[in-house]
C-alpha cells in the first residue's frame, strides 16, 4: 500500500446521533433507540455524546413505514426551506424539525455523525450505507466496523448515483451512515437481527472514541458495492406486477447476477432472464417497501476505494 502522504484531518466527532424509527415498522432501530433513551449506559463513550432519537414517532406508534410520505426521502432542499404550515405532510414538517435540531444540513453547526437504523426484508445481512466515496472519515469507520464484525459479514453499499441517490434523514449531518440489517419482516423483532445491529453500533462508537482520543488510522482499501441501476418488476397496464423475483435470485443479495441468469418468474411459471451486458451484484432483492417505488432490486458494481489515513485535527 503506497503512502498517501500526510493524513486527512477531521475535527473530533463530538456530536453523534442515533436515529431509530425513520421507518416506523423497522423494529430493530425502534427497539434499540427506545432502550437507549431509557438507559444510555451502553452508548456512553468518553469524548462524545451519542443522542438516541426516534425520528418518526407517529409512524412508530402506528407501526407503519410512514404517515403521509417517506421520511427518508423528505430531506430535500425544497422541503427543508418550505415555510411551515398546517397543510404540510407530517414527514415534511418532521424533516424541518429534525434539520433544526441536528442540522442545518450543510452548515458548520450540523451534527458530526448520524447513524440511521433500518431493517429490510431482503437477505442483505449487515450492510452499511454510504452517500459519498470521498468521505475518508466514513470510509475508515466502515472498514473498522467490518473488521470488528468479522467473521460475520458486513457489506458496504455506496449510493452516489446522480438519479437514484435520495435525501435521507441522516444527510443533515456531516458524516451520515445508514445501517441496514435483514432479512426481517416489517413489524417483527428478530433477536439475531437485533443483536447484529447492536454490535455494529458498539463498534461504530468505539471507532469514534478512538478517533477522538487521537488514534491515527492508516490508509486502507475498502470494498464497496456502488449502486448502478434500479430494476422494476414487469407490470401490466394497471401497474400491477406480472412476475415475482425468480426463486434462483430470491435471497441471493450480493451474489453475482450474470447476463442470461433467471431474474423473474411470471405467475404462470415463465422465466425472465437478466439481459444486462455484464455481471452485476444485486441487492435489496424483494424489499417489501420498494414495490410502490418501482424497485424489485438494485444492481451494484463492486469497487475498491482507497481510504486516506485519518487523524483528528490537532488544536
Amino acid at each position: 500500500m503506497s503512502s498517501r502522504g500526510s493524513p486527512s484531518c477531521f475535527p473530533e466527532a463530538r456530536r453523534v446521533a442515533i436515529f431509530g424509527g425513520t421507518h416506523g415498522n423497522e423494529m430493530s432501530g425502534v427497539t434499540l433507540v427506545n432502550m437507549w433513551i431509557k438507559n444510555r449506559a451502553e452508548i456512553e463513550r468518553s469524548g462524545l455524546t451519542a443522542r438516541p432519537f426516534i425520528t418518526n414517532p407517529r409512524a412508530v406508534e402506528k407501526c407503519s413505514r410512514y404517515i403521509d410520505t417517506d421520511l427518508n426521502r423528505a430531506f430535500t432542499p425544497e422541503n427543508l426551506s418550505t415555510p411551515s404550515g398546517d397543510g404540510l405532510p407530517y414527514e415534511v414538517q418532521r424533516a424541518k424539525e429534525i434539520n433544526q435540531i441536528f442540522g442545518p444540513k450543510g452548515s458548520p453547526d450540523a451534527y458530526d455523525v448520524i447513524f440511521d437504523l433500518h431493517n429490510t426484508t431482503s437477505n442483505m445481512g449487515s450492510t452499511l450505507i454510504l452517500e459519498s466515496s470521498t468521505d475518508h472519515f466514513n470510509l475508515q469507520m466502515v472498514q473498522y466496523i467490518k473488521k470488528a464484525m468479522a467473521p460475520e459479514s458486513c457489506m458496504v453499499l455506496l449510493n452516489e448515483h446522480p438519479h437514484l441517490k435520495y435525501s435521507t434523514s441522516r444527510s443533515v449531518s456531516k458524516h451520515p451512515i445508514g445501517l441496514e440489517v435483514g432479512p426481517q419482516p416489517q413489524g417483527v423483532l428478530r433477536s439475531n437481527i437485533f443483536e447484529s445491529m447492536r454490535a455494529i453500533m458498539k463498534h461504530a462508537l468505539d471507532f469514534i472514541e478512538l478517533f477522538n482520543s487521537g488514534v491515527e488510522f492508516p490508509a486502507c482499501s475498502v470494498e464497496v458495492f456502488r449502486v448502478h441501476e434500479r430494476m422494476d418488476y414487469p407490470r401490466d397496464t394497471n401497474g400491477n406486477i406480472t412476475a415475482m423475483v425468480h426463486p434462483h435470485l430470491q435471497d441471493c443479495d450480493w451474489e453475482p447476477l450474470n447476463p442470461g441468469d433467471p431474474m423473474f418468474q411470471t405467475f404462470d411459471g415463465r422465466t425472465i432472464l437478466y439481459e444486462g451486458v455484464s455481471p452485476v451484484y444485486p441487492t435489496f432483492i424483494n424489499e417489501a417497501a420498494y414495490y410502490e417505488k418501482q424497485q424489485a432490486f438494485v444492481t451494484t458494481r463492486r469497487e475498491t476505494l482507497a481510504a486516506n489515513s485519518i487523524r483528528k485535527t490537532s488544536t
Binding site: P185, R190, I241
Partner: protein, 325 residues
C-alpha cells in the same frame, strides 16, 4: 391387529356418505398485505375465473377486502377476519360502522348466510404468516371429515412444504373468521413470508395447494371413495405474550433464537422462549410440553400474542364418499 388393518377389514357400510360440495369459494386479500392470496385471486379473476362452472363444482373467486388490498395493509379500520361471529354478522350498521364490519356482512350475504342451507359448501381463505409454519389448514372442527381428508390429500401430494391441521375449539357462533361462513371451511395459511411482498416459492406452493384441493373436490363430487386413516391435529390450548414493561407496555424481550422459526417443534417446560434485551432467557413455565406455532407473527404484536401453543393428537378419519352416488 393394528388399527389401520382393522379399518380395512370393515365392510362398505362404514363409508361415511356426505353431500357433494357443489359450491366452493376461494378467497384472498382478507388481509390486504398477505400477497400470495391477493395475487392468486387476481390471476384467477384475470383468467375469467370469477365464477367457474366446471362439472361437477362451481368455484367462486373472491377478493375479500379490496380497500385493504389497494393500500397493501392488513385492514383499514378493523380486522376483517375477526368480524364473522354471529353477533357481528347481525350487528346493526350505520354510517359510523367500520368498513370491515359492513364488508363482513356483505360477504356473509354472498357466501352464506353462515349456518344456513344456502351457505357455500366449502370456503378456502388464503393467508400468509411471517411465522415458519409451512402450510396449515386452520379450522374450528376436529371432526370435519371433508377438511381432514383434504388435509390428508395435500400431505400426500405436496413434496415441497409440510402440511398440518390446526384446530381452534370455538363453537360456531363464536367462530370469527371468514371460513366459518361456509358449511365447511378453513384458512389456508402459508409461511414464512413477510407481509407486503410475494415470494415465488410460497406463491407456487399456494397455487399448487389450491389446485390439489379443487381436484380433490371434483373427485369427491364424482363419487370417488376416499379411504380413511388418520391425521395429526394440533388443537390450540393457549397463547403467550411477550414480556412487557408494566408501565409503557413496550416489549422487553424478543423471541429467543432457540425458539425462533421452530414452529411445531415440541416446547418443554424449562425451554427458552424469550431473550431479554439485557441478556436473560425467559423460560416456558407450563407443566405440559406443547407445540408452538404462529411464533413471531408480526400482526399479532398488537393482539398481545408472541406465540400459540397446541396439543397434538392423532384423529382417526373414516372413509368418505359423496352421497350423490
Amino acid at each position: 391387529m393394528d388399527r389401520e388393518r382393522l379399518l380395512h377389514l370393515r365392510n362398505k357400510e362404514d363409508v361415511v356418505k356426505l353431500p357433494a360440495l357443489e359450491r366452493v369459494a376461494v378467497c384472498g386479500g382478507t388481509h390486504g398485505n398477505e400477497l400470495s392470496g391477493v395475487y392468486l385471486v387476481r390471476e384467477r379473476l384475470k383468467k375469467r375465473r370469477k365464477s367457474e362452472v366446471m362439472e361437477p363444482v362451481t368455484v367462486v373467486t373472491v377478493m375479500s377486502n379490496p380497500r385493504a388490498v389497494h393500500r397493501c395493509v392488513r385492514y383499514t379500520e378493523t380486522d376483517l377476519n375477526r368480524c364473522f361471529t354471529d353477533a357481528m354478522l347481525s350487528f346493526s350498521v350505520s354510517d359510523q360502522t367500520p368498513f370491515e364490519i359492513i364488508r363482513a356482512q356483505e360477504l356473509n350475504s354472498q357466501l352464506g348466510p353462515k349456518g344456513s342451507d344456502q351457505a357455500t359448501d366449502l370456503i378456502c381463505d388464503l393467508h400468509n404468516t411471517t411465522a415458519n409454519m409451512g402450510l396449515c389448514l386452520i379450522t374450528y372442527s376436529d371432526c370435519d371429515w371433508i377438511c381432514l381428508h383434504i388435509c390428508k390429500h395435500l400431505q400426500r401430494e405436496m413434496a415441497t412444504i409440510p402440511v398440518r391441521y390446526i384446530h381452534y375449539d370455538f363453537p360456531p357462533a363464536e367462530a370469527y373468521s371468514l371460513d366459518s361462513v361456509g358449511k365447511h371451511g378453513f384458512a389456508m395459511e402459508i409461511g414464512p413470508q413477510p407481509h407486503g411482498l410475494i415470494r415465488s416459492n410460497i406463491f407456487t406452493a399456494m397455487q399448487e395447494a389450491v389446485q390439489l384441493m379443487l381436484d380433490w373436490v371434483r373427485l369427491f363430487n364424482s363419487g370417488s371413495e376416499f379411504e380413511g386413516g388418520w391425521v395429526d391435529v394440533y388443537s390450540l390450548v393457549k397463547n403467550i405474550d411477550y414480556p412487557r414493561d408494566p408501565q409503557t407496555h413496550i416489549i422487553t424481550a424478543a423471541v429467543h433464537p432457540d425458539l425462533q422459526d421452530r414452529d411445531f417443534c415440541l416446547l418443554h417446560p424449562g425451554d427458552a422462549m424469550f431473550l431479554s434485551f439485557s441478556g436473560e432467557s425467559v423460560r416456558y413455565k407450563g407443566k405440559e410440553p406443547l407445540y408452538p406455532f404462529f411464533i413471531n407473527e408480526s400482526s399479532y404484536y398488537e393482539k398481545g400474542v408472541a406465540l400459540f401453543l397446541a396439543r397434538r393428537r392423532r384423529v382417526e378419519i373414516p372413509s368418505i364418499q359423496s352421497s350423490r352416488t
